[in-house]
């Protein structure tokens, strides 16, 4: 569904992303992890059109989308969330989402947009009341709103920039479950960016690890978590906990299958 080839982004002399290639298959959840500044958000910004790649190709459903304007990429079926939620404070919660429903799906009809908004809000568990204000939302609520906006644009591929910092453990689990439900119930393929490894490893099908703008590992969560290079550059002291989580997840999956 998505094929990225030789993606490079240079800011002056600094290579934020250096020759990264990967593929995403229909229906999977790909985890994208790496320490702060490893290039995760830069890749997201290029996939969603906020930044133009210096070089490289991004094929989405067989069409080249590298360098297209953001609204054209959104309209072609990619939705995104921002790491720090960026709600529109002057609009109600509902209007935030119906705006995305209207413009994200080619401006067909207002009624359709409102329907899409209601479905998206129900999916993430926010009130569908037309006048509820954004000001009443806490950190978790704002993240849900961010997701609802992205879902309302009707994406085939969702780029979820979910730094779960600022949420407690329970909320993190909820957020992870929600992503899985979005994939299972709406059939949306997901790339999930995260820098905390534990929660992510339980949900994703595959993981890709970045460091200093380069891909250093890719594969099943358990394999990647056991990779020596990954442990060295990224996991550090967290390695044991993550390994255990990944092993547990794989065991569960085997039982499920």
């Amino acid at each position: 569904m998505l094929a990225v080839e030789g993606l490079v982004k240079r800011f002056g002399g600094f290579r934020a992303v250096n020759n990264v290639s990967f593929r995403v298959e229909q229906g999977e959840i790909l985890g994208l992890i790496g320490p702060n500044g490893s290039g995760k958000s830069t890749i997201f910004n290029m996939l969603s059109g906020t930044l133009s790649p210096t070089s490289g190709s991004i094929l989405f459903d067989g069409r080249e989308i590298a360098g297209l304007a953001p609204h054209r990429i959104i309209n072609s079926g990619i939705g995104r969330t921002f790491q720090i939620p960026r709600p529109f404070h002057r609009l109600s919660i509902f209007d935030n989402v119906s705006l995305a429903g209207f413009y994200g799906q080619g401006r067909h009809s207002r009624a359709k947009a409102e329907e899409a908004a209601e479905r998206a809000l129900a999916m993430v568990g926010l009130p569908t009341d037309r006048h509820a204000s954004v000001e009443g939302l806490g950190a978790a609520g704002l993240k849900k709103l961010e997701l609802a906006k992205a879902i309302a644009t009707g994406p085939k591929l969702l780029l979820a920039d979910e730094s779960l910092g600022g949420l407690d453990e329970h909320e993190m689990d909820q957020a992870a479950d929600m992503l899985r439900r979005i994939r299972d119930e709406l059939g949306i393929t997901i790339i999930w960016v995260e820098h905390i490894m534990g929660v992510l490893m339980r949900v994703v099908d595959r993981v890709m690890v970045l460091d200093h703008g380069e891909k250093i590992a890719e594969g099943l969560p358990a394999d990647v978590a056991g990779d020596r290079r990954v442990i060295e550059v990224y996991l550090g002291t967290d390695a044991d906990a993550s390994l255990a989580a990944a092993a547990a997840a794989q065991a569960r999956r085997r039982i499920g299958a």
């Binding site: 969603s48 304007a69 995104r80 529109f88 995305a100 401006r107 568990g125 978790a140």
Partner: protein, 336 residues
Amino acid sequence: MNRQLAGWIIALIVLVAVPFVHRDPYHLHILVLILIWSFAYTSWSIMGRFGLVSLGHGGFMGIGAYVTALLWNHLGITPWIGIPLSMATAGVLALIVAYPCFRFRITGHYFVLVTLALSGIVLQVITATRDYTGGSLGYTPQRAPSGKGLIALQFDDKTTWYLIALTVWVVGLAVWRAIDRSMSRHAMEAISEDEDAAAAAGVNVTAEKLKITLISALMTALAGALYCQYQMFISPDTVSGIAVSLQMVFAAIVGGVYVALGPTVGAIITILLAEVLRISFGTKAVGWDNLVYGVLLVLFIIFLPKGILGSVIDLVKSPRKPPRGHEQQTVPIARR
């Protein structure tokens, strides 16, 4: 909602009836001026309310007035064609200036500066081509021979002008309202807060901003052309340049840019203020109104950013609003 509609219809009937009941030409003259300027201020607020503060609207107004008059005097083109042409000219100029601004993300103060330059340039062009435009001495459309008043869009009768100005003003309010109720308003609110986030919601940021700017510029040019046809005399100071642009910003902000009738309230206040100063102090007070505008503008931006009408509406409406109950409900729902 139906009561609101009934209110509008009654108000409109009363407004239409005014010139047939009250025939004082001076009062009618003031009313026509208020209506034309209200329309101009409403046009400004169509983009101004979304944080697109333009000081270039004096330029659009000047183009509306001068292009219409020049076409009539030099080529004999009737204002019925001249006005659309002048609007088109203003529209093209608006796109030429606005497109690079929006494409390359010139926003906030920098956008204001670019538009300020636009005003200045139009003013310079009018003064520099004084052989055609009369320069700073002003310009007068040629009187049409009697019987040809309709073709020339020249009427001696104040009642006719009052009805024309009233119609245009109502159309201006209708456009304001149509935009207010459209998805474009949501998109523009979103853009004014965060352009990247708006783009991520699928909004074509540049196109939406251009659309609003174009509508605003076309309407402002129409206001300039009407002013010219009514007054039969235009000068760079009265329909163009930075002073006129500032006057628009001032009136719209004082009245309130977030409500439909705000710019109209602004026009009533500014025009009455100028008239009162003129009548009570005569020539001794020339330019005083600008001083008062300046002081009031500072006070309003600090203490009443929603303008007079906006603040009054808030005051009247707030007791009926439930005390943020829905928000209190939202918090637990969102935390779940």
